[in-house]
Amino acid sequence: MNLPVEAVLRPRDLGEALSMLAEDPSAVPVAGGTDLVVQLRARRRHAPVLVDIGALGLDRIAVEGNALVIGAAATMDSIARSAAVREHAPALATAAGQVGAWPIQCRATLGGNLANASPAADTAPPLLTAGATVTAAFPSGQRRIPVLDLFEGPGTTRLAPGELITSVSIPLDPVPAGARRVDRFVKLGPRREQIISVVSLAVRAALLADGTLADVRIAVGAAAPTPVRAPAAESVLEGRPPGGAARREAARALQEDIAPIDDIRAPARYRRLAAAVLLDRLLGEISHG
């Protein structure tokens, strides 16, 4: 079967790719294609011209200065296995290792996971909690967009036409002396593997020597039109120990942060309860070391 595509442009370098995307506003970048091809086949998306950005060397993963920089075309598999990611952004490594099944992970890319802007995109919550920014390039330059500002709604981003995500930067913010970095991701679905998240949750914080949490960041996937931060739950936890009364208060506050809907995958009530349980348990695990 041939997909309804009229042209696949294969630029030699990033500059050429950006010109191609700029010249034809209908052109769509493709790297792994694991989301896009599904949409094209189902005629849920019309993209007659594709620009293949999979072979432009955008797959590097490296620490550069004060940031962990992951190329947009890095695959989930390479992210999950990367020592640098596992050290500096363990929640992202966990999430990348749970996007679809292994063959999907060997093909799906970080840039694609973000650009598709699924509310359930598993890499989004850990990037939100890590304060990551995407670098979006265009022919005359590039700009940095916090992942927090990237998503507009289900399937839509705030990228301008012709803009291409080239990399994702995760700041290497050190924790205070004596503190421990906590960076966790957990996803939930009706099946253990190869499942679209019904709820996912990332928590990143510093666990201080006195047992309290600082710089608490929580993000939730599949519980709102976009992956979201959870400011209400975060503020409940800030400066408090993760165990004890704060757990339940945070689970309650989290309900204000999310706005799940009933859909084919789960009812809203289930998503709310599950988000509460996941947060409660993560906090329990953190407090027990």
């Binding site: 679209i196 995958r265 309860l273 409660d280 348990r281």
Partner: protein, 765 residues
């Protein structure tokens, strides 16, 4: 040479399948071949106001677009009832109903053309619940009414027990359907030769059904329709009758164009349009004495047949007589209604109505155990068919030994052994539970289908002492080639690698009925044994001449003919065959098997619906995370009354596969509908178990009660599936201390069942 019987020799189709050289329908192409697509109704029910096919004809590459009036023979595909058109004439009853067919030079052109047709449909009121469909004033699916038929069992019904039972339990079970999810979608290749005859290569379980269906739509004699089964990528009942529809489509397009036509379903259309396990509503009112001994059982079931009868009446026949299970009940009243709706097309699926009623009777047995205050194993022990009370609910006497109790004992032993050996990590979030379920499975076809319970085989010994075996029943992954090869090798004294069993071809053997009802090994094997018996009437005298013994003394083993009791007096079989060739004695024989006639009264449901029975008991051990509604099946212990093991890997594979498939049905697999339209027609959202979901499985294969099959074998395909979901249900309810009466147990169902007991329920107030 090890005896083939009960061995683990490689399955004959294994190497070609691992090497990727086994060709399925989608792998076959012919010069000039066209690709077919279906114009399907997007909604139902509806009246067809207009159907403009010109947009399809205008698509480049399109060679034919056909509507109902273009069918050369009868525009019908129903297997039993003539209620289903191949192409809709004026009334759409089911989402996915075919309005027109397209053949084009590429698949893309065919699909584009099909999508270009925009039928004008006037929506009609539909009915989407099998209980509501029987209420007065419900929209009718067919003018004959929504109640297709009711099957009954009446055995001492309304006797004293019903009035005086001190313990009565009642429940209504709502049991969801299931998609077969065979990995290979439906597909067929039709190869016409002028308009006089046609060859069909099909992914199918029942080539003779396909032959009949194609002959009917083309108006050809049966003899002019040849159906060859291609390698078939899974069936489970889903390729029982449905491939007849696929073949009929390809055949009419092939006749219209004079060219080979291949039709391969997309997964999405396959999920929407093909048959499913019936969703059922089962109502129970069962009574017992204070010790939990059953006094009466009343069951009323509603099968959601969908818009066409298909095989629903036959499924209901099995559900009806299976409703009480392996228990001794003095007074029985069963009503099983087959009901039309505008939902998915109910049909054959592994277990054929028995899994649903088993899920219900095993849930009720646990309810009863709780009501009386005894252990679920003990309540079963008190009621199982054993010793002197071995009469089924239809009044059929079971021959001894009856292994119901032995299956229960062995499965519970295996479960206890696992508990003792397992390193189960304690978790504050998990609650563990154990559940048990039993099944009494009637082997082969029900009385109502016994006219089909027959089988043909041809055995051709080759000059090099290898053997060609032609059979009428199909391999779809269940192991029919392996069991047929094993039986033939055992009977001919050959190494299995010397026996080539070829996939069925309707031009080589007589109509052998369908490959269903766990009857493959049984009916194929007995037909092969009959053929070997006939061959040996000619072979044994020749061998006897070479051996210098009486023909009655000849035995075949290890590739030689030898004198029974004196294995040193032997000649290679090759030499015997050389002698037969030299003497122009034919080395081909046909074989035939048919089930024994039996008595059954449809009005009362009494008599002998099945020739023999097999018992099975599964014990499921689960870990439930009630707050998230997750169920992990940790271990399943399975004890099966198998009669005799033909091929050990094949039988184990059936049991392991049956358990995991049934676990999917019990926990994961949802057919989510909106007015008959499937909302989750993909493997993204129709979830089947993955490798990470497989529980540990231990099994006991009991060979103490020979069946009527070859060497005493009994069918395993369906008994391997039937009890699992019920055992899981009981284990989850054991873990949670509540009753859940809907299947499947998805996480939201379990969380909802906790209600306000959920630790975070108050957050949502």
């Amino acid at each position: 040479m090890a005896e083939p019987l009960g061995g683990r020799h490689p399955r004959p189709d294994a190497v070609m399948k691992v090497a990727g050289s086994a060709r399925y329908v989608g792998d076959l192409a012919l010069p000039g071949m066209l690709h077919a697509a279906i114009v399907a109704a997007p909604g139902a029910p509806a009246r067809v106001v207009s159907l403009d096919l010109e947009p399809a004809r205008a698509v480049p590459g399109v060679e034919a677009v056909l509507a109902a009036g273009d069918v050369p023979g009868a525009n019908l595909v129903g297997t039993i009832f003539p209620d289903q058109p191949l192409l809709v004439e004026d009334r759409v009853r089911m989402v996915g109903d075919r309005l027109a067919l397209v053949a084009a030079r590429t698949p893309e052109a065919a699909w584009t053309a099909a999508a270009a047709v925009e039928p004008e449909l006037e929506p009609l009121p539909g009915v989407h619940d099998p209980v509501e469909a029987l209420e007065p004033g419900a929209p009718v699916v067919h003018e004959s009414g929504n109640l297709v038929r009711t099957f009954r069992v009446r055995r001492n019904a309304g006797g004293d027990g019903a009035a005086s039972a001190p313990v009565v339990v009642e429940a209504e079970y709502r049991i969801g359907g299931q998609e077969h999810a065979y990995l290979e979608p439906q597909g067929c290749l039709a190869i016409p030769e002028s308009r006089s005859r046609i060859t069909i290569v099909a992914s199918c379980q029942c080539p003779f059904y396909v032959q009949h269906a194609v002959a009917r739509v083309l108006g050809l004699p049966l003899a002019s329709v040849r159906v060859r089964q291609a390698h078939t990528g899974g069936g489970f009942g889903g390729k029982e009758d449905y491939p007849s529809e696929v073949a009929a489509c390809a055949a009419v397009l092939a006749f219209a164009t004079g060219r080979p036509v291949r039709l391969i379903y997309s997964r999405e259309y396959d999920l929407q349009a093909t048959t499913k396990r019936h969703a059922m509503v089962v109502r129970h009112r069962w009574g017992a004495d204070t010790d939990g001994r059953l006094l009466f059982a009343e069951v009323e079931s509603f099968l959601d047949a969908g818009a066409y009868v298909g095989l629903s009446t036959v499924v209901a026949e099995r559900a009806n007589v299976s409703a009480i299970g392996p228990y001794h009940v003095p007074s029985v009243k069963v009503d099983t209604h087959v009901v039309h709706t505008n939902n998915l097309f109910g049909g054959a699926y592994r277990g054929f109505g028995a899994p649903q009623v088993t899920w219900a009777h095993e849930a009720t047995m646990d309810r009863l155990a709780r009501a009386v205050g005894v252990d679920p194993v003990e309540i079963r022990r008190r009621n199982l068919l054993t010793g002197e009370s071995c009469t089924t609910c239809t009044g059929q006497e079971l021959p001894s030994p009856v292994l119901a109790g032995a299956c229960l004992d062995r499965a519970t032993e295996l479960a206890a052994a696992w508990t003792g050996s397992a390193t189960v990590a304690p978790s504050p979030h998990l609650r563990r539970g154990t559940g048990v379920a039993l099944v009494l499975y009637g082997c082969n076809l029900h009385h109502g289908g016994q006219f089909l319970d027959r089988s043909s085989a041809v055995v051709i010994l080759q000059p090099d002492a290898s053997a060609i075996v032609r059979v009428g029943l199909t391999e779809m992954g269940q192991g029919n080639l392996a069991s047929a090869q094993t039986v033939a090798a055992q009977a001919l004294g050959l190494d299995p690698s010397r026996v080539e069993v070829w996939e069925p071809d309707t031009a080589t053997v007589a109509d052998s009925g369908p490959t269903v009802a766990s009857r493959g090994a049984h009916s194929t094997g007995l037909a092969i044994l009959d053929a070997v018996r006939r061959l040996r009437r000619r072979l044994d005298p020749v061998a006897a001449g070479l051996l210098g013994c009486a023909p009655g003394e000849v035995e075949l083993a290890d590739g030689v003919a030898r004198v029974a009791g004196d294995p040193s007096r032997a000649v290679p079989l090759e030499r015997v065959l050389g002698e037969m060739t030299a003497r122009r004695i034919e080395t081909i024989a046909t074989g035939w098997w048919r089930s024994r006639p039996r008595w059954f009264d449809e009005a009362t449901g009494l008599g002998s619906p099945y020739e023999t029975y097999a018992f099975a008991c599964h014990v499921a051990q689960v870990a439930v995370d009630p707050e998230l509604g997750l169920v992990r099946v940790e271990h399943v212990a399975a004890a099966h009354d198998v009669g005799r093991i033909l091929h050990r890997d094949a039988i184990e594979g059936q049991i392991q596969g049956g358990i995991v498939q049934a676990m999917g049905w019990g926990l994961l697999e949802r057919l989510e509908l909106d007015r008959g339209r499937l909302l989750n027609p993909s493997f993204t959202d129709y979830l089947i178990p993955t490798a990470s979901d497989t529980p540990e499985i231990s099994m006991a294969l009991l060979e103490d009660a020979p069946g009527a099959g070859p060497f005493g074998a009994k069918g395993i395909g369906e008994p391997s599936f039937i009890p699992t979901a019920a055992a899981i249900r009981n284990a989850v309810c054991d873990a949670l201390g509540i009753e859940i009466d809907r299947l499947p147990f998805t996480p939201p169902v379990i969380v909802d069942a906790l209600g306000t007991a959920h630790p975070f329920a108050d957050l949502l107030d």
